[in-house]
């Protein structure tokens, strides 16, 4: 059984937000507009945090894409009263939309703030409703949603591998954010396979994890050269 993980090379990230756009298109994320966005009701399964360092004129911007860390010890899971969020055998932190009753406990318990709640019925202005991804369900009002590591792409790759009677190859599964990244900062693969690209990169001396001290065991590894 694979154990999916992601490596994001911060030294390569330019903060272009192509990943954010790709994620919106792939995962049927609605665009809520300025007013709702101001109330904090926007959907960004992946967002690019901008960190400004230094004083003018010696200013420098750093970028950090933040998405669901698919924690092995996920704080969101034990607080769900209906088991709508759980850990699946592949190590994905799953959200079952049709089981969710919208208590929002999970989002409140998430240290990374990567869970998004549907405060209203999601809608798409014409003709955007025609580009919805049929492999991903449209969420309804009152349910929580989050990054799935593009589970529909994982399933598709496994389906294809099954047809060809082989295992999923390294690099065959690529989430939308990784596919769109122009600098190839995002790598995705099986952490359990020691020969996979992600496993190799996660052993790098540049590897760090976000808020690792909380003991959440995040499965997204950030690469950054110490200064």
């Amino acid at each position: 059984m694979s154990h999916w993980g992601m490596v994001i090379d911060l030294d390569r990230c330019t903060g272009c937000e192509a990943c954010v756009v790709a994620c919106h298109a792939e995962n049927n994320l609605p665009v809520v507009g300025e007013e709702q966005s101001y109330l904090g009701r926007q959907f960004n399964w992946i967002r690019v945090e901008r960190i400004i360092e230094g004083e003018f004129p010696d200013v420098r911007a750093r970028f950090m894409p933040v998405l669901c860390q698919q924690c092995d010890e996920a704080p969101c899971e034990p607080v769900c009263p209906v088991y709508a969020t759980y850990h699946n055998p592949e190590g994905l932190n799953a959200q079952v939309y049709n089981r969710c009753i919208g208590t929002r406990f999970c989002a409140n318990n998430c240290p990374y703030a990567v869970r998004y709640f549907n405060w209203g019925t999601p809608s798409w202005d014409a003709p955007l409703e025609r580009q919805l991804n049929p492999d991903v369900s449209k969420r309804s009002v009152g349910v929580m949603e989050k990054c799935t590591f593009c589970v529909q792409r994982i399933r598709r790759a496994k389906d294809k591998a099954k047809d060809e009677n082989r295992a999923v190859r390294d690099g065959e599964v690529q989430p939308a954010c990784g596919q769109a990244c122009p600098t190839k900062a995002i790598t995705f693969g099986d952490m359990d396979d020691p020969g996979s690209e992600v496993a190799k990169l996660s052993r790098s001396r540049r590897a760090t994890r976000l808020l690792e001290e909380l003991g959440t065991k995040p499965r997204v590894v950030y690469l950054k050269e110490a200064e």
Binding site: N88, E90, N98, K162
Partner: protein, 188 residues
């Protein structure tokens, strides 16, 4: 262990006084509630009885599959390749019926749709809800037959929904056959 913590109720639940005599207000509430319940049941029953809705054309599966030995895949073309098995288009019907059974009154209805360049508005018997992602292909590849989920439809004269596609039914089969019962298999 944290699961257990959240599941443990804090404090005793309040018990209801069942012995108290029924007041007028209580009785009226009960009456209106039972009326609602009856209404809901009636609606449910009406939906359940539409198992064999009247179709725009009285299509007969039996005369195609049994009498003329036509395979399901001739009309439901994508059953082993894609998520949807495919309801045949009017063109598929016309391909054969432009030459066979042309005087049949039901077949003449096909011509009417074909000439209007309109699809036949078949009424679906099975429709998965939006939050279920089902694929015919995978189920056919593991060796399931149409009959296991669609009953006797292929050999009956009138198309009828004989099997209820509930989650319980899916789960029972998945468990028995050792298929994945992870939520993400069908819900994502």
């Amino acid at each position: 262990m944290a699961f257990l913590y959240t599941l443990t109720a804090r404090g005793e639940p309040k018990t209801f006084d069942c012995e108290a005599p029924m007041t007028k207000a209580k009785a009226s509430v009960l009456a209106s509630f039972s009326l609602l319940l009856f209404g809901a049941l009636a609606v449910g029953f009406a939906r359940r009885t539409a198992r064999a809705p009247e179709q725009p054309i009285a299509f007969n599966h039996k005369s195609h599959t049994i009498d003329r030995k036509i395979d399901c895949s001739n009309c439901h073309e994508y059953y082993n390749q894609q998520a949807a098995a495919g309801i045949p288009s009017v063109r598929t019907c016309y391909t054969c019926h432009s030459r066979v059974q042309t005087n049949n009154s039901e077949v003449k209805k096909i011509f009417a749709y074909y000439e209007k360049k309109q699809e036949i508005p078949w009424i679906r018997l099975y429709q998965m809800p939006d939050h279920v992602l089902f694929t015919h292909k995978r189920h056919i590849k593991v060796g399931l037959t149409c009959r296991e989920c669609h009953g006797n439809i292929g050999e009956s004269a009138v198309a009828k929904r004989e099997v209820d596609h509930t989650m319980g039914r899916c789960m029972k089969c998945h468990e028995a056959k050792g298929a994945s019962i992870d939520c993400l298999t069908c819900h994502r």
